[in-house]
Each structure stands twice: as structure tokens, then as C-alpha cells.
């Protein structure tokens, strides 16, 4: 008996690729789903993308075990070529791992927000500092120079709790 946790149809499969590698990865997966065994240059011309970009994307997805390749010698071209295919059997595992990792990080953040008073300049691109760090920086943001003010993390904590509950429900 196979051990599935999620029912992943074609659309779900593509959404995993979109999540892991963006829209380009999704387009690439769509092609490999219908035509497994394509070469990098074939993929690049079909997607109208630079072959270097396709190669980078393929290796990035390969590191995540979402795609795999078979190396074969092409007698016509007289060189080694890589034929790529999706590793559909790994998708369940990849999804579970990502969900677990995000949940782990959210738990760390929750603890951090609960145990520390945070200071922030209010700028979206700048990080928040705990009291000791803020004191070291004389309550001046090292990135934008803004004044570090007490940050009320209640809303963030609420969102973290909500996300954690959603993820835990899915992983149950």
C-alpha cells in the first residue's frame, strides 16, 4: 500500500513547482509533465528562455529532488546530453518538509516575540531589534537611520498563531 498524505493532481503538482521556483519553474514543470526526457536546449527554446537560466533552474529543482536527469550519449550530436524528468514521487515529501520547516520557524518567531520587547524604525525593509541590540545602536536603525521605537508584536503573534494552526491542521 502506498503512503500518501495529500492528493496531488496535476494542478497541485504545478503549484508545488510555483512555490519552490516561481512562475518559470511552473512553466518548466508543465512542459516536463507532458514531455519527459527533454534536453536543456529543447526546454530553453520551448520556453523562449536563455539556456543558462534553464540550466540553473533545473539544477535548483534537482537539489530539491523535484526533477532528475538521465545522462545519455547522443550519437548524432556526439556528446553527452542530459534528459530531464519530473520526480513526482518526491513531491509529497518536499511539500511535507517545507510545511514542517515553515512551522518550525514560526514557532521560533513566536517564542522570540513572546520573550522579547522589540524595537523597530517602522520601515518595511528593516529588521526589528531586541532591547540589548537597540541599546547598542543607540536606538537608531543601522539600515535607514530612523529612530527605533517600541514595536507592539500582538498582531504579528496573532498571525503566527493562525498560520501555525493552519499548517498543523494540514500536517495532522
Amino acid at each position: 500500500m502506498e503512503d500518501y498524505m495529500f492528493y496531488i493532481d496535476a494542478e497541485g503538482l504545478l503549484s508545488v513547482f510555483r512555490l519552490m521556483g516561481g512562475a518559470e519553474a511552473e512553466e518548466l514543470a508543465k512542459l516536463l509533465l507532458t514531455r519527459p526526457g527533454m534536453r536543456e536546449d529543447e526546454l530553453a527554446s520551448a520556453l523562449q528562455m536563455d539556456v543558462k537560466r534553464v540550466r540553473k533552474l533545473l539544477h535548483q529543482l534537482n537539489e530539491l529532488s523535484l526533477v532528475a536527469y538521465d545522462m545519455v550519449v547522443d550519437k548524432e550530436l556526439n556528446k553527452r546530453v542530459f534528459r530531464w524528468r519530473l520526480q513526482q514521487e518526491q513531491v509529497q515529501g518536499v511539500v511535507k518538509t517545507q510545511l514542517k520547516r515553515i512551522a518550525e520557524r514560526l514557532r521560533m518567531l513566536k517564542k522570540h516575540y513572546e520573550t522579547n520587547q522589540l524595537y523597530w524604525c517602522g520601515n518595511q525593509g528593516c529588521r526589528k531589534y531586541i532591547f540589548d541590540e537597540a541599546l547598542d545602536k543607540f536606538f537608531k536603525c543601522p539600515s535607514c537611520g530612523g529612530r527605533l521605537m517600541v514595536f507592539d508584536s500582538t498582531e504579528l503573534l496573532r498571525i503566527v498563531d493562525e498560520k501555525l494552526a493552519e499548517i498543523n491542521k494540514l500536517l495532522e
Binding site: 508545488v16 510545511l99 515553515i102 520557524r105 529588521r127
Partner: protein, 138 residues
């Protein structure tokens, strides 16, 4: 959609349809007869579909006395994949994804991206609630 494009959990069209119906009914599941009715197939074909799905571990068949006879209730053993809860999360494509966390070299407590994601979620939720309230008022 080509046949290869059909599915990750490789199923026939009928099995896929049956499973999708069962997923819609969640933990309660459906009686076999209800499912055959919804699918518009005979009990013979239906039993084949149920057995196939059970063998693959996708559904559970539970004996139940209903409508004056013993029958089977089919309950889905899988969940539909809903990635919307982590949509736009910065973690999956992050280059530090493997080394961030309690046992890694990087900590999410100093990550601006994850905080921005959470703040954006808070903002989008407020907007959604506001839109719902406006619709209700209208």
C-alpha cells in the same frame, strides 16, 4: 489535458472523480451507494473503483448498517493539497532554506522577509474583512 498530464497519484478518470467527491465530503465520507449514484455508474463498476482506491491507500472502507442493509462507507485517507496557506512565503525559494531554523546557522528571528510576509498577511486579511463588511452593508 493529455493522459500523462492527468495526475500525480496516477489514477483513472473514474477513480479520480470518485476521490475528488470523497475529498469534498471530508471525514464523514460517503456510502458506496451514494457515490455510485453521484458518479452514475453501476455497483459492480463502483466496487472495482472502491477496491482500487483502497488498495492504493487513498480511501478506507468501513462497514455500516444503513437503509436496512449492510453496506460500506468510503472515507478519504488523503487531504487535498492546499498550498494557499504558505503562498508567497519567502522560505521555500530562499537560498538559506536548508540552514535556517533551530538547528541551522541562520535564524528566522532576524529575517525581514518572513516578517514582511506575516505583516502582509495581516494587511490582506484586514482588507478582506473590510471588503466583506462593505458587501454586507451594501
Amino acid at each position: 489535458m493529455s493522459p500523462q498530464m492527468h495526475d500525480y497519484v496516477k489514477l483513472g478518470k473514474l477513480e479520480e472523480k470518485a476521490l475528488k467527491l470523497l475529498l469534498q465530503h471530508g471525514e464523514k465520507g460517503l456510502l458506496q451507494s451514494e457515490l455510485w449514484h453521484l458518479l452514475g455508474i453501476t455497483s459492480r463498476d463502483g466496487s472495482r473503483v472502491a477496491i482500487k482506491l483502497e488498495k492504493r491507500g487513498l480511501v478506507k472502507r468501513v462497514k455500516e448498517f444503513a437503509n436496512d442493509r449492510w453496506t460500506m462507507r468510503l472515507i478519504s485517507q488523503v487531504k487535498p493539497l492546499d498550498l494557499s496557506i504558505i503562498r508567497d512565503s519567502p522560505c521555500p525559494p530562499c537560498p538559506y532554506n536548508d540552514s535556517c531554523g533551530p538547528s541551522g546557522n541562520y535564524s528566522p528571528t532576524g529575517c525581514v522577509l518572513i516578517e514582511s510576509w506575516l505583516l502582509a498577511l495581516s494587511g490582506s486579511k484586514d482588507k478582506k474583512e473590510e471588503a466583506t463588511a462593505q458587501t454586507m452593508r451594501a
